[in-house]
């Protein structure tokens, strides 16, 4: 405060009082001179009788702009809102409901938006909103902070970064973007920072358990999905492992509408969840036994001859010949020295000869591959008997007769048979997308089996059919802008250069080309699995590496498998962390066994910086907390999914609140400080990971495209991204901003999009994978088919060459209850978890759902507090008794912050989360890691616990 201001504020009855406004200003410019106490006559004021005069103005506002939410709600993402602005504040929002109907025969997408989105303005102005940069002044986690200026914060952080770049190397600097990824300015900021400074980005997909390992091993890809309105063509909709009433709120109406058209909806879940209650049929299944259920259905389908022979022959590896003794495919290398390891064979019933399968097309022509029989072949190793995978499968399925499987699954035998027949006979059956099975220790097998059931029945490629993987589609112009060298006007030639000379090799499909590009990019090491980081450097190894403790059937220790995977280059070894930027993530809430990070990870960090809009659990333990702008306070582009194939714009309805800044500006300021400090310190050089010298002298100039883009106006980036985008119908940023969304017109040139493998037509619903089923383009797997037989060494060692059921291990110890979870209805990850409006719709604090009988056996009544524990730890929570919960199951839904529990311990202190070594496999064409795929996953479903009554809930 200046002396002048202090003088000004000094009160003296004699001198009178001056008018001094700070947060408020006089509306009428002519009155402005009155500020400062000029003594002018008071301005005329409208009569004021009471506050009711104001209420009559409620439906007035200054302007309405389009907005959406950059939160990672994945399956349900993409909802345009009208955002109402008054006096520089967002007053409310409402669903825009302007989405077009794809065609007159299917329902439209309106309205899009859930209760979280509809209350975002309230959340944006939450009491926990951070307003200014904060610097820790006590111990980490002690909660002592003081404000610092952005310049002070950035210069200090920049000094740490420069020191680390020069001393420990750039890969010691990690960025965790959590679910905060955009397809616009925020992403460009991160990409440019990472590339210019050669830093590391965390790949969190397998850590959070969204990595769809079963899809990856079966299809060679995980990102593919049909549109939600495609469900209208289904006559059988399987909710198997998911809960769309919670996780796909804006899409769920399509399920009900399909029912009105005659589709049958079947929910296969342990608990009668919120989706199940709206289904026509609920098939209960014991926790973690879905693979057994699926294999039992396969048993019925195959034994009753219900399988779609033509589809199986054409699209899958089931006709491929295998040596039953070695459990390996018959390959070209079996016939001649130096022969191809990726040449495979089937027995052609037409010519009665063994034939090499085509690598370029799925068309069978005149051939009719055998699915059964045993055939003699002369190989370099002598005469061998080979048989189709299908024959092996049939024998394997003998272990899964419904009567036997029912013992595992708890599903009635009659229901298993009935379900199998339904799927086989359906005109068009589909399984809704979910990422639940990835969160099981044996989730890979559970997913594989889903694909097997549907492939046997030919339920792919037809409208309204298919298994939906991880849904994603985005504009293809954003990444090139992120990696483009300055200046921006050279962008056009750069794009030409970027793609020039790149393209599929002779025997590659477009999908294979992009996936190869992803794998090659991954080898540079910029993306590191967070699961592996926390295993190696985070103190989680006693959990993630303890697989044999709970899975005694595992032949070797996890560390042995992992060492092999590292040594063979199947997995990337994480560099030692020194600086950790949490920018969109929240590891101390998110990571299973997060409590171990306090001892194992944080002490290794010289600096921890969190960018967030509220004081998350991770922010609480950081050295700096930088306040992020809200989603209505920034211009940006948000990626989409084929479920609702509209890329969305969020526009700057109001200025960033108080001292908060957009992600783009934070990256901008950081890079500016790094260049400034490096030059001032005369320490501009560092070695990148390849040993080449890089300079910091112009690093900010490069970052900002030599000044082409400013800190507070990222619109040039958004305009450029859309200018070069090929899959959004040529929409400009201005048009996108005005309308709020645009429908995708194609997959474009993007590795993440391309694996949807389908054409997008303006007036057609989207059906995934039609390039394979209709155009007969091969699948991106080793066998170039949907592949159900995997002869990679880990698979053979673990007996998983064919899809199999394995019991969920007693992770956590020998305790009677199995704890599961799922995304909640009332939050998107942690973003609304402690939001009062959402808490008011629940119990107001963390809650665990429990079956009536299990509660009664422990003397627990509804609303009472319990301790939940196992060998790893315990936590306290209140119980909600629910008739919908499966006996033996307890449910704690996702993303409570630890600080919301007594003792600040969340349910994740009990999750053992052991790696399953099968997910470390590599060295096998499509079993290679790249971003989001092919890394060992963390898991929590079915964690064993016991519950002890504590008593009544705490007051308040």
């Amino acid at each position: 405060m200046s002396v002048t201001r202090r003088e000004f504020l000094r009160y003296s009855g004699l001198a009178g009082v001056s008018l001094s406004l700070g947060h408020l200003s006089v509306t009428d410019v002519s009155r402005a001179s009155a500020q400062g106490g000029s003594g002018l006559a008071p301005p005329p004021v409208a009569e004021f009788t009471s506050w009711k005069d104001l209420y009559r103005e409620r439906l007035t506002w200054d302007r309405v702009v389009k907005g959406t939410h950059q939160v990672n709600c994945w399956y349900q993402r993409g909802c345009t809102f009208n955002v109402f602005v008054k006096d520089g504040m967002v007053m409310r929002e409402e669903q825009a409901s302007t989405y077009p109907q794809t065609n007159s025969s299917v329902p439209d997408f309106n309205p899009r938006g859930c209760q979280k989105g509809c209350s975002y303005s309230d959340r944006m102005y939450d009491g926990s909103r951070l307003r200014h940069p904060l610097k820790r002044v006590g111990e980490r986690g002690e909660g002592k902070w003081k404000r610092v200026s952005w310049e002070e914060a950035m210069d200090d952080i920049a000094d740490h970064v420069i020191d680390t770049l020069r001393k420990d190397g750039p890969r010691s600097v990690y960025w965790d973007m959590g679910g905060g990824m955009t397809n616009g300015a925020a992403m460009v900021g991160l990409v440019r920072t990472i590339r210019l400074l050669d830093m590391t980005v965390l790949d969190i997909d397998s850590e959070v358990g969204d990595h769809h390992p079963g899809a990856a091993v079966t299809c060679g890809k995980i990102t593919f999905s049909s549109s939600a309105d495609d469900l209208f063509y289904s006559d059988l909709i399987l909710i198997w492992g998911g809960n769309p009433a919670y996780t796909q709120i804006p899409n769920a109406h399509f399920i009900n509408e399909a029912r009105y058209k005659g589709a049958q909806v079947v929910a296969i879940t342990p608990d009668l969840n919120a989706s199940g209650i709206h289904a026509d049929l609920w098939a209960p299944v014991n926790v973690g036994s879905d693979a057994a259920l699926g294999l039992a259905m396969c048993h019925v389908i195959v034994n009753e001859g219900l399988h779609d022979t033509d589809f199986v022959r054409e699209q899958t590896d089931l006709p491929f010949l295998v040596d039953p003794e070695t459990q390996r495919f018959l390959r070209g290398s079996d016939f001649e020295a130096g022969g191809a390891d990726d040449a495979f064979y089937f027995f052609d019933l037409e010519s009665q000869e063994i034939r090499e399968v085509s690598r370029t097309t799925l068309e069978l022509g005149d051939h009719r591959p055998a699915l059964e029989g045993r055939y003699e072949v002369e190989t370099l190793g002598g005469r061998r008997t080979v048989t189709p995978v299908f024959e092996l499968l049939r024998a394997h399925l003998a272990n899964y007769a419904p009567e036997a499987a029912a013992e595992i699954t708890g599903t009635p035998v009659k229901l298993i048979r009935s379900l199998a027949r339904k799927i086989a006979k359906a005109r068009s059956a589909t399984i809704l997308t979910q990422s639940n099975f990835s969160k099981f220790y044996h989730g890979l097998e559970m997913e594989r089996v889903q694909f097997l059931v549907m492939a046997l029945c030919g339920q792919f490629g037809k409208k309204g059919s298919g298994v939906n993987g991880f849904p994603m589609i985005a504009i293809d112009g954003n990444f090139p802008v992120g990696v483009a060298p300055p200046p921006m006007p050279d962008l056009g030639p750069f794009i030409v250069k970027l793609w020039k000379g790149m393209g599929p090799k002779e025997d590659e499909t477009e999908e294979m080309f992009y996936l190869r590009s992803m794998r090659e990019l991954h080898e540079s090491g910029n993306f590191i699995s967070s699961a592996l980081l926390f295993h190696v450097h985070g103190g989680l190894a006693p959990l993630t590496g303890a697989s044999r403790r709970w899975d005694p059937e595992l032949p070797r220790d996890t560390e042995e498998y992992l060492a092999e995977a590292f040594d063979k280059g199947w997995q990337l070894r994480p560099p030692v962390p020194k600086i950790f930027f949490s920018s969109g993530g929240n590891i101390l809430r998110r990571v299973r066994g997060y409590d171990r990070l306090h001892e194992g990870f944080l002490p290794k960090l010289d600096l921890m910086v969190t960018v967030d809009w509220h004081m998350s659990q991770t922010a609480l333990h950081s050295d700096y907390v930088l306040p992020a702008a809200g989603w209505y306070e920034r211009d940006d582009i948000v990626w989409a999914t084929p479920l609702a194939p509209f890329t969305q714009a969020t526009t700057k309805a109001v200025e960033p609140y108080a001292g908060s800044k957009t992600d783009w500006e934070i990256h901008y300021r950081l890079m500016e400080s790094i260049q400034k400090r490096a030059v001032a310190r005369k320490q501009v050089d560092f070695f990148d990971h390849a040993g080449d010298i890089r300079s910091l002298e112009n690093v900010f100039d490069d970052f900002s495209y030599r000044g082409f883009v400013s800190a507070d106006d990222p619109e040039p980036l958004l305009k450029a991204s859309l200018y070069i985008t090929s899959n959004l119908g040529g929409v400009t940023w201005e048009e996108l901003k005005e309308k709020g969304y645009a429908r995708h017109t194609g997959l474009g040139r993007s590795p993440m999009n391309i694996t949807n493998a389908t054409d997008i037509e303006e007036h057609e619903t989207i059906t995934a994978n039609t390039w394979h089923t209709d155009k007969k383009i091969v699948w991106p797997t080793l066998t170039r088919r949907m592949q159900f037989f995997i002869d990679q060494e880990f698979y053979l060692e673990l007996g998983e060459q064919l899809p199999i059921h394995k019991d969920n291990p007693a992770i956590g110890g020998d305790y009677p209850l199995q704890m599961t979870g799922g995304h909640t209805r009332w939050s998107i990850h942690g973003s609304w978890r402690d939001h009062k409006l959402m808490l008011d719709l629940q119990r107001g604090e963390p809650v665990m759902y429990m079956a009536r009988g299990d509660a009664a056996a422990r003397g627990v009544e509804d609303g009472e507090r319990v301790r939940v524990g196992n060998d790893l730890g315990d936590f306290e929570v209140i119980v909600k008794i629910s008739a919908a919960v499966h006996p033996g199951q307890v449910i704690v839904y996702h993303a409570w912050e630890p600080y919301q529990f007594p003792g600040k311990k969340s349910h994740q202190v009990t999750t053992g989360t052991p790696f399953n070594p099968i997910q470390m496999a590599g060295g096998y064409y499509h079993l290679q890691q790249f971003m989001t795929v092919g890394q060992p996953g963390m898991n929590d479903r079915g964690t064993r616990v016991e519950v002890t009554k504590l008593g009544a809930p705490r007051a308040g």
Partner: protein, 215 residues
Amino acid sequence: MRDSRGGLAEARSGAYRLFAEAMIYPDAGFKEWVQDGELVESLLGALSDISPALCEGSGSWDALRDAGVEDELEIEYTRLFEAGPKGPLCPLYGGLYGGIRMKVMEEAARFYNHFGLTLSGTPQELSDHLTTELEFMHYLAYREAEAQREGVDAGPYRRGQRDFIERHPGSWIPTLCIRLDEVEAAPFYAATLHGLRALLEWDSERLQREEPRSS
């Protein structure tokens, strides 16, 4: 009590402005202002002109001379009002103490608009933040004093203050004070906000009496 034409309103205007200023983030200049005793002396001067009874409890007012050592006051301000899991311990936003937040914010903004003000000031604050609300009270009282001096009807300003106190700061500052006591807030902030609560109560009672609401 100052009873000259506009004198009471002027004193109230000054007091609200000083309370607003006392609740900004304490930088180095602020602490000097506190330690010099200028804040408390100006505040007590204004309060004594309003009603000497508001200056009682002189012991607690001494806390307004103590800015602590080093960063103590900044750290305390952050702990109490700025940041924490689930938000700070004692947020300074009225809408967090009752009612629907967005409606509280909106109504406050409409109060400001009605009386010719907008929120576009710098530094930016939300409409239900304590300092914004106090600034508005400072403004209304200032205009009331002006109107009285000029012989213009000051009724709208008084009724505006009556309703604004009742529906905004007067409705939540008492709860804030309870919370401050619960979390053992630094004496500086406890004394400031308890003093503010007393002023609001005194002012509200007077305004209700002088501008009774028509049935």
